[in-house]
């Protein structure tokens, strides 16, 4: 369902339908009203963009947690301050605390936490959709999925399956291919007539294939599993037929320094090159610039960037934290010295995680601080939501919910799932706050809200009118305007 722009009368009709629908779901009237209010917040007539950014292996909370609470906080006073690069933009930052990933355990949670799905922990085949692809589908656009060494060389195994659109999505490994795919057609003018003919033939082609699939499906009567494969294929083909639409604001392909620096090195290279850890920093920089330009140009208003995969052991010596990222850096224990947290013990890991934020800031956030071509009164960042997540909380203990770390050292440090948004979501997000929902009186796993409620909230902020996501139906209303 897409929330179209509506006249006042149409808006009222829509809100009444939404209210009745909410009641129909069993929500109380006050809660149903909140649903309507949330929907109203979304439709402010401004362009919206979304970006997912994954940071593997969690974060040491003593270096991650902001100091302060509510709207009075700093991101730059927590040891290494992993979120420190966001301090200049914190009026547009929300830090979410007290959320859990239901049933997602250890790094295996990577296959389910962004869909809030409740499949078995080792299930990497059941269909699901992760939040960034859900938002893209709701917006009628194809999510641009980019990766920087986002899988092991031999294929997409369990650790690499972060994004799902029914089936697992393989992020585009080459920034050069991504650039050409996103910006290659800008400025080209093959002639309207030719475009119409090609469009018609493409539709005829897909209709022909669709008919073949339906015919074959019918021939396989009784072979349910094989018919199911064809059904999946049919749905995929229909998605291809429907295409996607959005208004591109750039009139020429952007010049991206990191992409151009990579081009002479990467051109003509085999797949192996794009999975070599020595190339990771350059690939990530280029992918982030492609992502930012996609958002600015509105060429692809929903983007996801996956640097690395769970359990990766790339040596982070390139940025000063020598050692394999998973085994060596993330798996360092929290320590107490003299009754307080030993801040030095996990500095290398903290610095490695801060590096991700520095990359995001340099190559994306700063580039979004431009006048939005579709909304000159605001910046692109004002109209964007960047969602920063990790598949676990505390790197050593593999948490999937809030846990108290270093409880023996007062004050105890709470490890929350690292979830941060940057950007205003087109006016839909109430920003510049820490939102903490953890109930300390309850046992571990019972004192948190499901992350799916936050994903639902972000979907609604992006204009979806969905009433639930991954089984979650409650909104984080404090995050919405």
């Amino acid at each position: 369902m897409k929330l179209a722009r509506a006249s006042s009368r149409a808006r009222l009709r829509l809100e009444r339908r939404l209210f009745l629908k909410a009641l129909g779901l069993g929500l109380s009237a006050p809660v149903a009203y909140q649903v309507v209010r949330a929907a109203r917040a979304q439709d402010v007539g401004r362009p919206k963009r979304f970006m997912l950014f994954y940071m593997p292996h969690g974060a040491p909370p003593e270096h991650f947690n902001p100091v302060g609470s509510g709207t009075d906080f700093t991101l730059a006073d927590s040891g290494v301050s992993i979120l420190g690069p966001l301090e200049p933009y914190k009026s547009l930052v929300n830090v979410y605390q007290g959320f859990m990933y239901p049933g997602a355990q250890t790094h295996e949670g990577i296959v389910k936490f962004l869909s809030n799905s409740r499949v078995d922990n080792n299930d990497d085949t059941t269909e699901r959709t992760t939040i960034e692809h859900f938002i893209g589908n709701e917006m009628g656009t194809r999510t641009l999925a980019l990766g920087a060494v986002a899988q092991r060389q031999w294929g997409q195994d369990f650790d690499a399956k972060l994004m799902w659109d029914g089936q697992a999505v393989v992020p585009q490994k080459s920034p050069l291919v991504a650039y050409d795919e996103v910006f290659g057609g800008i400025g080209a003018d093959p002639g309207a007539g030719d475009n119409d003919a090609r469009g018609e033939l493409q539709q005829s082609l897909l209709a022909l294939t669709e008919a073949e699939l339906e015919s074959l499906h019918g021939e396989l009567s009784g072979l349910t599993r094989e018919q199911s494969k064809l059904q999946t294929h049919l749905e995929s083909l229909r998605d291809l037929k429907s295409g996607g639409s959005h208004q591109i604001s750039c009139t020429s392909a952007p010049s991206l320094p990191a992409v151009e620096a990579l081009r002479p090195l990467a051109s003509g290279q085999p797949d192996e090159w794009f999975y070599a850890e020595s190339n990771f920093p350059a690939i990530l920089a280029a992918q982030l610039e492609v992502a930012a330009a996609s958002l600015v140009c509105n060429a692809r208003p929903v983007v996801a960037v996956q640097p690395l995969y769970a359990n990766c052991d790339i040596d982070f010596g390139f940025m000063g934290s020598s050692g394999p990222h998973h085994n060596g850096l993330s798996h360092t224990s929290p320590q107490i010295s003299g009754g307080v947290a030993n801040m030095e013990a996990r500095e290398p890991f903290a610095k490695a995680q801060r590096w991700f934020l520095e990359m995001l800031t340099e190559h994306v956030i700063q580039r979004l601080l431009v006048e939005d071509p579709a909304d000159p009164a605001h910046t692109v960042l004002d109209n964007t939501i960047i969602l920063l997540v990790s598949e676990i909380g505390e790197g050593q203990w593999h948490t999937s919910e809030t846990q108290e770390i270093l409880a023996g050292a007062p004050p105890g440090i709470m490890s929350y799932m690292p979830i941060v948004t940057i950007g205003g979501g087109g006016g839909a997000l109430k920003t510049g706050q820490i939102l903490n929902y953890h109930d300390v009186s309850k046992p571990i796993g019972e004192g948190d809200r499901e992350a799916g409620e936050l994903w639902l909230t972000l979907a609604r902020a992006m204009g979806s009118s969905t009433m639930s996501f991954g089984g979650a139906s409650q909104l984080v209303t404090e995050a919405l305007t």
Binding site: L201, L208, S236, G328
Partner: protein, 547 residues
Amino acid sequence: MSLLRRFGVLGKLGVAASLWLTALAGCSTEAGRDDIGGGSGGGPDGENPGGGEAVCASSQPGDPLLRRLTVREFEATLAEAFPEVAGSWTSSLSSDPISHYGYDNAAERLLVSKQKAREIDGTAASLASAVSDAVTQLLPCAASSPDRACAEAFLDKYGKRLFRRPLQATDKGKLLGFFDEALAKTDFAEAIGWLTRALVHSPHTVYRSEIGVLADGERKLTQHEVASALAYTFGGGPPSDALLARADAGELSSPEVLVQVARDLIATPKGRENLHHLFGSWLGYSRVTSLTKTNVPGFDAVRADMREETRRFIELVVFDNGGGLVELLTSPVTTPSQALAQFYGFPAPSADFQSIERPETGGIGILAQGSVLATMASPDGSSPTKRGLLVMENFLCRTPPEVPADVPLLPEPQVGQVTTRQRYEEVHSVGGCKNCHRMFDPIGFGFEHFDEVGRYRADEGGLTIDASGEVPGSFTFSGQRELAELLALEEEMQTCVSARVKAYAFGTEGACLGETQRVAFMNGAIGFVDYIASLAAEPHFVRRKPQ
């Protein structure tokens, strides 16, 4: 994928203030970290299962299957259908999902997702453009009579290659109807391009059909389905025109003929490459080229040679000498480059990748290959856990239990102070770690005379190495050589590996599919190539269950 990844939490531990104090008592981070190629998903669960799928009294046909071509198969199919435009088009296809065996050809996992549909479209468009540009080269009639009849000639030749069977009248009718529409809107060359796109998109191209025809209560695969099965299973690519002609003539029926075709295909360069893919997926040694080793200067320069060494070793043992399980595990030779031999401290071969006899201390068989030992190690040291898990999961099909969520840190190497074994034993033999690590660490200790890049070491920083080990419930041993020799005799290993081999060949883990020569392979009467070729004679190769 390592089975260590199939873990839920053993139970949320009481994460009280003492949680961090358990760091020294709990499991280390070694367990479950990094996969080791395929896991042992086919085996029964339990504390000490093993052997994978049991041997059946006789072979039976399995389920009918629609198998989506893997990316490798798809690209090979397009390339071999249109050799005239080689190098003029690019594939947009991204990686296939990997099964818990480490294979990319598991039929149940290969679907056409939304992403794959778009990638097929992109690939089809690129190929179509190349075909359009070369139309007069592909179609002699394109110059003289660029019309519907010429398009039909295109379908007869190239459509047959892509569909791996002659096109039926209904196929042609619909495709030519589409061609007519394209010709009306473009020109002949471009219309042929659109026809190419339609062929590439077609499910008859995208899927290998192993459905058969239902008659008299059984499904019998058609001649062309058998041709496809032969070509992809043993040659890694589509059936050639010659093989399709044999299918046209109905020649692909007798088991003897099928096995001979299988042998002929295996003997081709592509056939050998296809089997290399099996070994690489099963053992994971290809990953050596992407590894870094913190404390080993010069490793970067030889890791590609390590991979090539193992490929040449398999060529020698499996292909050239017809070796089987015993030979793979216990061969006393290896095939390093000269630089790599120097790196190991081995005698130099006469030329790069020529066979040499391993030194007495240099280990034996595939489990002594530098690529394997380096891959099953940490960046900064050897890893008894990873090496033990490799044997446990990939040679014995034993399933380790779930890994708990909160595994504390393994202490860093302390060269000259404690050995790796001592470091691992200190952490893994106590508390919650013990129940898991006792299943595989004792196997891995047998490799301790080999460092993190597979070089022999007499001692570890001056400390005496204890390489005694145990395959729990089976045998004890001392050192890698004895481990390999005894493992080669283990029926559990033979059952496990034979199950893995036929799962790769058939693209499914179905039971009782390849039993006729399985015992002969297990007991060493025949080698890998003979066993794999023999699968062409199995009932599953030509028949399927009715439903």
